[in-house]
Symmetry: C2
Subunit: 161 residues, 2 copies
Amino acid sequence: MQFSKSTDYALHALIHLGLSESRNHIGIKELSASLGVSESYLSKIMSKLRQDGIVRAVPGVNGGYELARPADRITFLDVIHVIEGRQQLFECSNSSSRQHRLLAEGRVERQETERWGQGECLVEKVMVGAERHLHQYLREHTIQMVLDEANRIRSAEGIEK
Amino acid sequence: MQFSKSTDYALHALIHLGLSESRNHIGIKELSASLGVSESYLSKIMSKLRQDGIVRAVPGVNGGYELARPADRITFLDVIHVIEGRQQLFECSNSSSRQHRLLAEGRVERQETERWGQGECLVEKVMVGAERHLHQYLREHTIQMVLDEANRIRSAEGIEK
DNA sequence: TTTATTATCGACATTAAAGGTCCGCATTCA
DNA sequence: TGAATGCGGACCTTTAATGTCGATAATAAA
Ligand code: SF4
Ligand code: SF4
């Protein structure tokens, strides 16, 4: 139960783009050098981000990537959804077991088939709740927040010197 | 980013034990039949649960498993920690990258090495927060809650007939 | 004490997913 | 046009989850 490295890479790539807003396009070369990841692999991740409308890409000389929308409208949840997919935190794998019948059979016979059949069982109810909490938190945190923090540190550095 | 099947099995095994509190010991045979999982595999999971003090096991004739403490003191988080391990939701994999130096170098030079070096960076700060929320929720939900719900359904069934 | 029963543990096999590489193709723009 | 750049499919490697087998140890009942 851990986020993949790809998510790590994606977040850092977006942060890099965010910190380089002045220059218009950042090539995969610069990104991969900055993150320490191979160009081939990182480009796959960037492609996903592009397909989901998080970044824009332009090929050709002086091409590269840029954020497709302001950093304060790119949430951590957005990024995670793109990379990790939208699979549920918990997915029952034995809904045909003897035990399931014990726990769930009752309702099925009483017109609650729809709500129950859709995956609202005793265990999943807890897990879906957990997922909702997690997603809520991740939705409230954007790339911009990291950029602000980074800039704050940067300028503090500048003054000090 | 999903809980493993083992977690699923563990939760259901515990629920089965909880619903069978009257009888003292439940063998791996009954459990595996109820869940539809092989005895070999399930027994490994049960061993983990035993090592972490969630269940007790006694070998020999009429042996088997039982909950090591009341079901209302076994939280979902307990179970998940046993099965999934205690690895963080997010673990930075490129803390030696050029970008990291950009984002984090400043602080290291100002006696904040300890807090920072321990893994409190801009990105992780968000992720650790997310993890805390998730864990908080899972800590508040116990096996007993599922048992109660199941018993409520059961008795409603009984009255109906 | 003997014996049948049961959990335990290590070794191994299988499968699925993540991580990573390569190369030909399409697109842009100087 | 042609050099630079991103795109995407095929493929390989590594890692983790899942699953099986068999030998061993512990227990309680007879
Ligand atoms: S009760 Fe829920 S989690 Fe358990 S077997 Fe049924 S559907 Fe799956
Ligand atoms: S800023 Fe944090 S997440 Fe990013 S490279 Fe440094 S330690 Fe890792």
